[in-house]
């Protein structure tokens, strides 16, 4: 696409777009100087989430931000204009818990030896200084497949260990890894999964909880001791340097949210209690049995990230195995959790958890809406409420002037499975979306477009459709 194309060329552009949608078309990402910075989507149905739906409205994007939205806005002369007739504009969707962009490794999982784990200096499986932003791999195929389905933002969470690192809010597009990062240190995830394996500490749930308690106590101690030492270096014993304490203290001082695992009722109630004891700004993740304890969650005022990978019967399990009624109930009712949370007034967002792709995400959301969650509430949970929980509601989650220009433009209701995503804006960058490439079946040769299909397959194209 040539920069010299101006507004005058819009019909041409639109025609080209149409063609592109049909045939699939792309240019390589360009270097500096080539990117348009002004866009307008004109005459579209706009769902701002933060306010009422605007029919036949216009959104103006300028230098990565939303400049104006409404029915009566001036389109800057340099803007590329997309005809929004028949299209709906939503805020970009937020996946509030993924490991997109992160390599999966075993770091931080090695337990400390138990016999010596006598004091606060032992830090098994603790690497809070690892920041997801520093390890982003932008060639992760999921960035594109999520974006093609309308996700523009994700919380990407390091895994492996009790304090595996700090999670980063990323936008799903950019030239370099640094462009993706919205907030590098958004959250401190905690896992209660024992790491010791009977011969190292901690090798039990209660040991892991005790360990986290000790680390938080140590951090509090450091926060108290360090200023006293700095003010009285000649009269006070020096405070030893401890990377964990320094990093966690900085994170807690910056009011980073602490992600606590809590999927079933017992875990949720326990996490509520520990949040009170530890005086942290907690957000629970998992949350799938929230339907049983929605009232307790509401009165705790702790937000929840609900995992959309609903519990299922073990795939390769013994088909004859006796099923427990409690598990059956859980599998049946879990998708009703978002509706129950919405009804109780719990702030929640949705995340893909271990789901393979956007298609499964939308299927899971459908199960939640089938179980009583209104589409409006679902959209909110995937946009503004997610942004709010992540502390970024001033920047993300709705279509309003000043917000980051993350938009998804569809040809219909975003939760309708027949709906196609037509355009996605990430940080004001325009991504045009193609039709899904039909999977090439082995043995089913299609001679007429052999080369094209092959090329797509070779590049691992992920589908747009859901």
């Amino acid at each position: 696409m040539n920069r010299r194309l101006r507004r005058r060329s819009i019909p041409v552009v639109v025609l080209a777009l149409c063609a592109a949608i049909l045939i699939g078309w792309a240019c390589a990402a360009r270097g500096e100087g080539g990117e348009p910075r002004y866009f307008a989507v004109k005459g579209a149905r706009i769902v701002p989430v933060s306010g009422a739906v605007i029919e036949n409205g216009t959104v103006v994007i300028a230098k990565g931000l939303i400049q104006a939205v409404g029915t009566n806005v001036t389109i800057p002369p340099e803007a590329w204009v997309i005809d929004g007739a028949g299209l709906t504009v939503y805020p970009g969707l937020i996946d509030a818990g993924t490991n997109i962009g992160l390599a999966q490794d075993e770091d931080g999982k090695k337990p400390a030896r138990g016999a010596g784990a006598a004091g606060p200096e032992d830090r098994p499986a603790t690497t809070p200084w690892r920041v997801a932003a520093d390890e982003l791999k932008t060639d992760d195929k999921r960035i594109e497949s999520w974006r093609n389905a309308g996700f523009t933002t994700a919380l990407t969470v390091p895994e492996g260990g009790i304090f595996p690192g700090q999670a980063t809010v990323i936008d799903l597009g950019g030239e370099r890894a640094g462009d993706y990062v919205v907030n590098p240190r958004a959250s401190v995830p905690v896992s209660f999964k024992p790491v010791g394996g009977f011969f190292g500490f901690p090798d039990s749930l209660m040991g892991t909880i005790a360990y986290v308690r000790q680390v938080l106590d140590d951090t509090t101690w450091y926060a108290q001791a360090e200023p006293i030492y700095q003010a009285n270096p000649t009269k006070t014993e020096r405070v030893p340097y401890d990377r964990t304490e320094v990093v966690l203290n900085r994170a807690l001082q910056a009011n980073e949210i602490v992600l606590l695992p809590a999927n079933n009722t017992i875990q949720i109630l326990r996490a509520i209690r520990l949040t009170g004891e530890w005086k942290i700004r907690a957000v629970l993740y998992g949350g799938q049995q929230g339907y049983e304890v929605a009232a307790a969650l509401a009165s705790s005022k702790i937000p929840v990230l609900v995992n959309l990978k609903w519990p299922e019967r073990a795939k390769d399990g013994d088909p004859e195995a006796e099923q427990n009624l409690r598990d059956l109930r859980f599998r049946d009712r879990a998708p009703g959790t978002p509706a129950a949370l919405a009804k109780a007034g719990v702030k929640f967002a949705l995340y893909s958890g271990g789901l393979d792709g956007p298609k499964d995400i939308f299927k899971s959301v459908k199960r939640a809406t089938d179980a009583g969650l209104t589409p409006d509430a679902a959209l909110r949970a995937m946009t503004l409420d997610a942004a709010d929980i992540l502390g970024l509601s001033d920047r993300l989650g709705s279509i309003a002037p000043g917000k980051i220009a993350n938009l998804v433009i569809t040809d219909g209701d975003i939760f309708n499975e027949k709906t196609k995503v037509k355009h996605v804006f990430v940080d004001g960058r325009w991504f045009e979306i193609h039709e899904e490439a039909a999977p090439e079946k082995p043995g089913e040769k299609k001679p007429e477009d052999d080369d094209g299909a092959r090329a797509k397959q070779a590049k691992g194209v992920e589908g747009v459709g859901r």
């Binding site: 696409m1 063609a19 049909l22 045939i23 699939g24 078309w25 792309a26 240019c27 990402a29 360009r30 030896r113 138990g114 016999a115 784990a117 006598a118 606060p120 594109e144 093609n148 024992p194 010791g196 009977f198 011969f199 500490f201 090798d203 039990s204 749930l205 209660m206 040991g207 909880i209 005790a210 000790q214 106590d217 140590d218 101690w221 001791a225 017992i266 109630l269 326990r270 099923q323 427990n324 009624l325 409690r326 059956l328 109930r329 996605v424 991504f431 979306i433 039709e435 490439a437 039909a438 999977p439 079946k441 089913e444 007429e448 477009d449 094209g452 090329a455 194209v461 589908g463 747009v464």
Partner: protein
Amino acid sequence: MKRATICAAMLLFAACAPLVTRAQNPGTIFIQNATVLTVTHGNIEHGSILIRDGKIAAVGADLKAPEGAAIIDATGQYVMPGIIDCHSHIAVDGSVNEAGPAVSSMANIADVLNPDDIDIYRDLAGGVTTANILHGSANPIGGQTVVIKLRWGKPASELPFQGALPGIKFALGENPKHSNFPTPPGVTPRYPGTRLGVEEVIRQAFIEAREYKKQWDDYNKRKASGEQNLIPPRRNVQLDPLVEVMEGKRYVHAHCYRADEILMLIRVANEFGFKVRTFQHVLEGYKIADEIAASGAGGSTFSDWWAYKMEAFDAIPYNAALMTERGVIVSVNSDDAQEARQLNQEAAKSMKNGGLSANDALKLITLNPAIQLGIDARAGSIDVGKDADLAIYNRDPLSVYAVVQKTLIDGQVYFDRQRDIAERATLAAEKQTLLDKEKKAAEAKKAEEKSDKKPETKPDKKKKPPQDDGGAVESGVAGGSR
């Protein structure tokens, strides 16, 4: 055998329904015309118990039911105090052992109570109302422990026996020194590996705890005197519970077998100024019953388990009776979710093995464990003012034919055999409905996946304009074009 199978099936069903078997509202309840085994003041034939707001308000032979009281007619049945299991590992989420360090006192059972554990319901069906939930025996000093009431259907926060002192598990002998399972290759064996080492680990931990306590005392004193710019000591979640032990705020429940190691722990406790509250298992307790009695510790033992490992070779089924004779407060415990369902029979064994009276046998699972856990003002006998924690049997509970009909905690019925039987069909139907629903969903999903796999490219191809055949345009990354 058949009976056991039926019983197991019944429990399995009930198991699934914590919310259905919810107890009634407390209020005024009148249990009438029962044989009341008070434990403290004899048996009352055709007796009644009046319960108000969860407490026993009156016990006697000539009580009248107050207006509006819920009546439990126990004609021909026996009411005894709810059974107290002084050594249990039920209702724990995750492992009962924090086995990594030799001193795992930072771990706390109270953090991981699991109110959904089906063993709570099963043990209720065996008349148990209170259990001492212990950490495992993998460490010389193990984790913190908690006394719970088996309030099935209530959240974890409502399980603990309010007012009961917390405990801590110690363990001596083969388990903490890892005698009975090999350390895998490549892993350094954990210290200690001998009984000498077990003693040393405990002493070392208390030396550290004493020093830690001193640091805090000094700090608090200097702070109170107005000294500025003081850096407080670090809080240590491992040593805090040991300080509580020395301050008498936490009971020590020590797993032990051999006489020599029991005497060792009494000496170590004396050195650091604390008392062992109970010796658990204490299979050689009969050899040193006088010394145990003199130390003030209780003994919580098995009825007749022995010879299952080297240090259990000298165990005899007369242990409970012999220790009782010498003045030790003795309880019989289960250490096992299944055996907890028949603690009444375990207690009865000491009538045969050692000739305890029926009342002394009952004490082994009621008043004595209540004393050992420091809750005897609230539980362990049928006396006015105590919690209405009761088990109602169809026969004398010391008979092997006795079956629990109802179990009450705080005056609420938490287990009711008739209700359980009545609910089974409903639960089975619910289960079948859910199974059918799941099956249907799985079939629908399969069908959908099948149809998804069909290629749907043909319509697109027809629309494709001829000039777009060029591979160059196709080679772009989908969605990435600008």
